[in-house]
Amino acid sequence: MRVDQDKVCERLRTELQDYLDGRLHGARERRVQEHLEGCPLCRRELEDLSCLVAAMQELPTPRPSADFWPRLQARLAAAPRPSSAWKLRVWLPAAVVAAALVLLALLLPRPQQPVLPPVPLESYVSEHFFVAGNHAMSGRVFLPPGLQQAPRRVDLGDDGP
């Protein structure tokens, strides 16, 4: 019987501090209350915890020594200005990164434009001739003046100008 009671105590003991801190509600709170009514050991433990917390809350407030304030003021006066120190911490790395990127862009070799050999006019025209000749919409071709062997205008339907 005592073994069963110990198990209940053990289980509820983990909730005693939650109960003390007012963090239990509803059925959980009632369960702890009911157990406490019939268990002097857990009641004693709760009282101990309650006294401990009260003792800590009532500890006297110590005071710093007389030279605490002058020492702090002297250190604050010697410290860097808060806003500038903060801005410097934020902006300095950003400025360094930006400068490095600019330097990198200036130092890197620029890509050379490939120099292509001139394309003879005839090959250009003949290439486009075959493409236009295969036009799915009209099946007709357009050739510049001088190479006229076909009509000058091509009917492209809806795709036309």
């Binding site: 983990t14 501090q17 939650d18 109960y19 003390l20 801190d21 963090r23 009641r43 433990e45 709760l46 009282e47 101990d48 915890l49 309650s50 006294c51 401990l52 917390v53 009260a54 003792a55 800590m56 809350q57 009532e58 500890l59 006297p60 407030t61 110590p62 005071r63 710093p64 020594s65 605490f68 304030w69 020492r71 702090l72 003021q73 250190r75 604050l76 006066a77 410290a79 860097p80 200005r81 808060p82 806003s83 500038s84 120190a85 903060w86 801005k87």
Partner: protein
């Protein structure tokens, strides 16, 4: 421009000093309970305040200054303890020299505050606090001395609420066991339990 800059700097410093003047006793109390000595508490608080001053441009109206500094101070404290790795851990089975566990047997009257001063309970509570690891001590100080909620502590310490809860419960349980004879004193018990 230089004059304006100097003026701004002076305003920042004055505003900061006003806030420190308002909260320094509470901050010093927390520092004292964390470190367990006046000298260490002053050093810790000065370091935390200098750090706060360097970050003062980030401080926004509506933020609680005491909580803001407490966060920095707690982290500074835990970091310094981790570095030093010096912990005076007492065994629960053998109280330290000079710790009389029967010291409250006789007097059954008086309010708790009087008992604390009369019987040196404050020292005993501090000694029990000093046996805890820095993480456990921080959570007890923030909760039971500074009155922070679990949510606030989780934010200040940067740990989940479950961690705050388990640290607090373990720390209190250890202190309860250490101070059990003291806590059993009838003068401390009257009307305390919930």
């Amino acid at each position: 421009m230089a004059l304006l800059s100097r003026r701004k700097e002076q305003d920042d410093r004055e505003a900061f000093e006003l806030l420190v003047a308002k909260h320094h006793l509470q901050l010093y109390r927390a520092a004292y309970r964390l470190t367990g000595s006046g000298e260490d508490a002053e050093d810790l608080l000065q370091e935390a305040l200098l750090e706060a001053f360097a970050d003062f441009a980030k401080f926004r109206p509506g933020t609680r200054f005491d909580r803001w500094v407490l966060r920095m101070m707690t982290h500074t404290y835990i970091d310094s303890r981790r570095k030093r790795r010096v912990q005076a851990i007492w065994s629960l089975d053998s109280p330290p020299e000079g710790m009389d566990t029967e010291y409250l047997a006789a007097d059954g009257s008086g309010d708790p505050q009087q008992l604390i001063e009369k019987h040196g309970l404050a020292e005993r509570v501090q000694m029990a606090l000093d046996t805890l690891s820095s993480e456990h001590r921080a959570v007890v100080v923030l909760s039971d001395i500074e009155g922070m909620s679990y949510e606030e502590m989780a934010k200040v310490l940067g740990v989940p609420m479950g961690t705050v809860r388990s640290r607090l419960h373990r720390a209190r349980e250890r202190m309860r066991q250490m101070l059990s004879p003291t806590l059993a004193h009838p003068g401390l018990r009257s009307g305390r339990a919930r």
